[in-house]
Amino acid sequence: MSVLQTFEHLDYGPAPESPAAAEAWLDDHQRKFGLFINNQWVTPLEPKYYPSYNPATGEKLADTVQAGQAEVDAAVAAARQALDIWANTPGQARARYLYAIARNVQKHHRLLAVLESMDNGKPIRESRDIDVPLLARHFYYYAGWAQLMDTELRDYQPVGVVGQIIPWNFPLLMLAWKIAPAIAMGNTIVLKPASYTRLSALLFAEIVAEAGVPPGVVNIITGSSQAGTMLVTHADIDKVAFTGSTEVGRILRRQTAGSGKKLSLELGGKSPFVVFEDADLDGAVEGVVDAIWFNQGQVCCAGSRLLVQENVAESFLNKLKKRMEHLRVGDPLDKCIDMGAIVDQSQWNTIDSWVKIGIREGGEVFQPNIDLPKRGIFYPPTLITNLEPAAEAVQEEIFGPILVSLTFRSPSEAIELANNTRYGLAASVWSENINLALDVASKLKSGSVWVNCTNLFDGASGFGGYRESGFGREGGKEGLFEYLRTAWQERPRPKFDLNAASERKSSWGAYTPARPTPPGGGGMDDGMDGRKSARIDRTPKMYIGGKQVRPDGHYTRAVYGPRGVLIGQVGDGNRKDIRDAVEAAHAAHTAKPGWAMRHAYNRAQVLYFIAENLDARQDEFAKRIAAMTGRSHKSAQLEVQAAIERLFTWAAWADKYGGALQETTLRGITVAVNEPIGVIGIACPDEYPLLGFVSLMAPAIARGNTVVIIPSQKHPLSGTDFYQVLDTSDVPPGVVNIVTGDRDHLVKTLIQHEDVDAVWYFGSAEGSYHVEYESASNMKRTWVSYGIERDWLDPYQGAGHEFLHEATQVKNIWVPTGE
């Protein structure tokens, strides 16, 4: 008599989505899958299989192949073979393929959703209403960019063959984020899905074939992390794109260091969810549900760190606990649940151990009194209160349905706490006061900020991290640049001995300071007028925090002209000089107003003023260049004029690259803000002592960064002469800091400095390797030359969009509207 009983008590019952079509698809393949290479299923002669389980039932769904070196080679070869034709296929033709994929995804919408939920454990509501629609949306969006590429992106070319590795939490969505922009821009790809969740990628492979995409453009191989390493380190891969843990991201950064492969990483997070006293608290509670109990909390951008204003904290937490009592955990295919299964027992164990750590750290754990299924891998929604930032559970990513909560007193404290993390993927801000909400949004260090909303995604908006949450963006126009190379550039093929360099890691950059010039070792020539008579010594110092300071080590290095004539001396910098310079560069940000907070007009004025003052000293700078390099005075003059021109260029760009309004599906405003990266360490090239210096310094500071800049090691005097120009140009202290000395010695300190946000290195191929390798410690962004010179006089090579891209990071702020 269930109707009558239910009539009295009105319980919920199961509302299962049928797995029939997905089961039939698995059966069609005898529940054994090969690798998708050249639009065909390929099975190795002696295949090793790996089982895929349904985490909600423990039942085995299918076997998939563990690819080995031969299979990885075959997939990469297929992609390589397809590249030439695909890259040269008109964008309009590629657009049709992407459109066909988008449409086919829509045609197989339910099958994709059901299979995804079975394999991953996520609720069918999410796979059906979020993952798969976004999968289609991404292909629609990038079909558009394929269409427009030939006219709108004429200065770019495809990168080549791309190796892509995706995680298990959003198998289809992450696949879309990787494949759509890559193939839209004419690249071919080899994608490896995560071990736990391989099946939906294989179904997608058939959709690709059905859409008529030429063989070899999209290759999907299954395999372990070893297969991932084979893919990433494969010599014929031009770019690696990865989404996953910061730990693995570090490994990939090191594995690809120095190779000339482009790399984009979307990594972990511990994203703050900030609730102010004037928020719609009920709305914010629902936001928390979407933030941390979406996909069982296995979300890189999960709002896992709740920050509530102290005066409403009790009331908010009470509301939240009551809300948690209404959450339903159950069969992922049940249409009447909120949370499904955890992907795997090992993940469950990790989550549970974090909760235990939280308890040990003094946290109070709240779990609602709700039923969990008797079998399968399920974890209840969990709130841990009474923890402080010092607790590990507050700092570390848990990747499960665990929310930790803290309180704050004021907006400034909220910002400080929110930014008190090594990560910077996303943040959510709740307030009914637009002034407060937007101010906080602008000050949070994260790639996405959701105002009065959370976990919103769209093809038209970029997603990606600040800090150790990685670099590169997926989605939006900004997401294209991960899959493009400027037209003039070739794929760097750095020439150095990797094994030797790898052995030399600790000794790289070691340096013994210079000693006095031995008698007869060359006279003094200041290069200005050729006088040899006794004259007043003029040895430039370091320029740190707007002051000329002596080198910390009190060593000096000689600067020789082209014929070995001593033409001057500069300070021989060491780690302490770099340390001081980085402190000064930070102080320039925290000053009031900080350099990045000054309006762009002001930064432009400063750059124009620098140009004006350099112009007044053209002759002096030209003479110096000629003396250092031995080039003709005319050539040197040309360099100075180009440097002045470049300052004008970057003064021009200072107020013309603020960002864009993104046309997402949100009713309201999604705005991409091109924010400065912070403190950038720059090692200048030797080829153009002044122009190289200016070409790197100017875009960095134009876009609001502060810099620690190492002038050309060989010809440092243009850099040191330059601080007198800076001194007279209203450049605030610490915006530009100049440290001279041995380039690699100084760069090593910069790249290892965890409070430096990016390093630009224009030095040797091996040095580029070390810079990329060492950057992994805090995942700072790097831009290196791989020992390849560029023509700094050329406006594309010396001042193209590449410089803007490297000087900024995109933050997408989502602001829904409507009263």
């Binding site: 109707v3 009558l4 239910t6 919920y12 019952g13 209403d129 719609d280 009447c336 649940i337």
Partner: protein, 320 residues
């Protein structure tokens, strides 16, 4: 209504509380957009929930052409809202299934009371210058008295929207309190906020609080005559106000969406909303009424489909 239910009482107006209200529209919209997708009610459960919905209906006719005959036909349907063969198939024919109330204009109350004699189905009357409320206060109060005198056990009053739009919470409170005093012990009072006439969701929340402070037994979305009637957005905001009021005062105030609810699928969403935001008590007729007329036929058709597996013809269901 059963006596076990303790009625809400008038409490002093707390303006500070009213002014602290915050409602974010986009957050409200997101919640109501996803809630029905989180709570699918199927098979046996759907049948039970829909049958329960039948008992929550305030079966309504509020038209200029209402006649005693029209009222009699409606009341007959109120007594026997589901075809007996369907109830038999559901094996609950022993239980009396009837609607929550019959809702009419004051002039038709006597017809309805007459037609419902011998049942415990209450007659509800709209009052206070329904639907616009733009008549002088003494007349509006007199309307309540007359409806009660004619036998109405429930009075659905409309508020003066002007008070909300101008932020005159004191005037709104005073007005509703007087309505409530007039209802006294004789009748329960449902206060219609006419949410479609209000400017913002925040005002809906604030008006809900004031109506509850003034002693309403129910708060109700709409007269059915505004251009926008009962939406889930309004419902969510009002439900949250009810919850907050309950948490702070201990009083459970009922909720009545009205206008535009004509399909079973909509009803399930409303029921899930009540269940999730307030709890199972708000799925019962003591605390949930659904103002509707055509809805009943659709519920009946869905129940028929449940027992037979066949989609039902509208003309096979007896008219109300």
């Amino acid at each position: 209504m059963p006596s076990k239910h303790i009625r809400n009482q008038t409490i002093p107006l707390d303006l500070g509380w009213v002014m602290r209200a915050r409602v974010n529209r986009s957050a409200v919209e997101r919640r109501v957009a996803t809630l029905p997708t989180r709570r699918a009610i199927k098979k046996d459960w759907q049948a039970a929930w829909l049958l329960r919905a039948v008992t929550c209906i305030d079966l309504t006719t509020l038209a200029g052409d209402d006649t005693p005959g029209r009222i009699r036909r409606l009341c007959a349907k109120a007594r026997q809202p589901v075809r007996p063969d369907i109830l038999t198939a559901l094996e609950i024919s022993d239980h009396t299934i009837h609607v929550g109330a019959v809702c009419v204009y004051p002039s038709r109350v006597r017809d309805a009371v007459e037609a419902l004699r011998g049942t415990d189905i209450p007659v509800a009357s709209v009052a206070t210058g329904f639907p616009a409320g733009q008549t002088p206060l003494p007349q509006r109060i007199a309307e309540i008295e007359q409806a009660i005198e004619a036998g109405a056990k429930e009075i659905d009053v409309v508020i003066t929207r002007t008070h909300v739009l101008t932020g005159n919470w004191q005037a709104l409170y005073d007005e509703i309190r007087q309505f409530r005093q007039t209802c006294g012990e004789a009748a329960h009072m449902k206060t219609i906020l006419a949410t479609g006439d209000l400017a913002t969701l925040k005002q809906v929340y604030q008006a809900s609080l004031v109506a509850m402070m003034a002693g309403s037994d129910f708060i109700k979305t709409s007269t059915g005559k505004e251009s926008v009637n009962a939406t889930l957005e309004f419902g969510l905001v009002m439900a949250r106000a009810i919850r907050e009021f309950w948490e702070r005062t201990g009083s459970k105030v009922g909720f009545k969406p009205a206008g535009g609810i004509s399909h079973a699928k909509q009803v399930l969403a409303w029921q899930a909303l009540m269940r999730e935001e307030l709890g199972a008590d708000w799925q019962m007729p003591e605390l949930l009424r659904i103002g509707a007329s055509g809805l009943l036929t659709d519920l009946e058709r869905q129940l028929y489909h449940y027992i037979t597996g066949r989609y039902a013809a509208r003309h096979h269901m007896p008219m109300g």
